[in-house]
């Protein structure tokens, strides 16, 4: 039996997929598809930002649609991810700035850290309340 709450997860997944696809297009398109055409690159970036805004709105609506315990698990996971992202990001940046690591600090690594922390925190939150 289901509740009367609308399921927004498909909506959120669609916007997330669109954002990922437009990110890939904006990163790889200039080199591999449209031969660095500036106008097409600007359009790709604008499309990426638009899809990102859509993803944020979809996420807010998803949060509004889930019940209070699930919302709490999501909010806890976001708080943990934000903390780990800030502390980890600053630490990583310091390692780069002080030349303690041989490579450049990449924003992609921070995004990956944020995503993995978020997923782990969601799983721990669900397990704690099972």
């Amino acid at each position: 039996m289901t509740t009367s709450r609308p399921d927004r997860s498909v909506h959120l997944a669609s916007w997330t997929g669109a954002w990922l696809a437009t990110t890939a297009a904006a990163v790889f398109g200039p080199e591999f598809i449209w031969n660095s055409d500036e106008l097409l690159t600007v359009l790709a970036v604008l499309l990426n930002v638009g899809a990102g805004i859509g993803m944020i709105v979809a996420y807010v609506r998803h949060l509004e649609a889930i019940d209070e315990m699930m919302r709490r698990i999501q909010l806890e996971a976001m708080a943990i991810s934000l903390g780990v992202g800030i502390v980890g990001g600053i630490g990583y940046s310091l390692l780069d700035a002080t030349n303690l690591i041989a490579f450049d600090a990449e924003i992609g690594h921070l995004v990956a850290l944020f995503g993995l922390t978020y997923m782990a925190a969601i799983l721990v939150g669900l397990k704690r309340r099972r």
Binding site: E68, M70, R129
Partner: protein, 68 residues
């Protein structure tokens, strides 16, 4: 916080899914409340009490104070 949700639900022969539907929450949330792993918000606690036509303190019991 302790509660009598499981007993009250069983008395009415409701499944967790039935109760979840009546309260407009997920079955996982009903299970977590029943097992004491999640304390509902005040609005949800009132909704539960109203559903069982009982006073809120007859459904929920605060945990004993640790400094007592």
């Amino acid at each position: 916080m302790k509660n009598r949700l499981k007993v009250l639900r069983a008395e009415r022969d409701w499944t967790q899914a039935d109760l979840a539907h009546a309260l407009d929450v997920s079955r996982q949330t009903v299970n977590a409340i029943e097992t004491g792993k999640y304390d509902p918000s005040l609005p949800l606690a009132f909704k539960i009490a109203r559903l069982f036509e009982m006073a809120i303190e007859d459904v929920f019991e605060p945990a004993p104070r640790s400094d007592a």
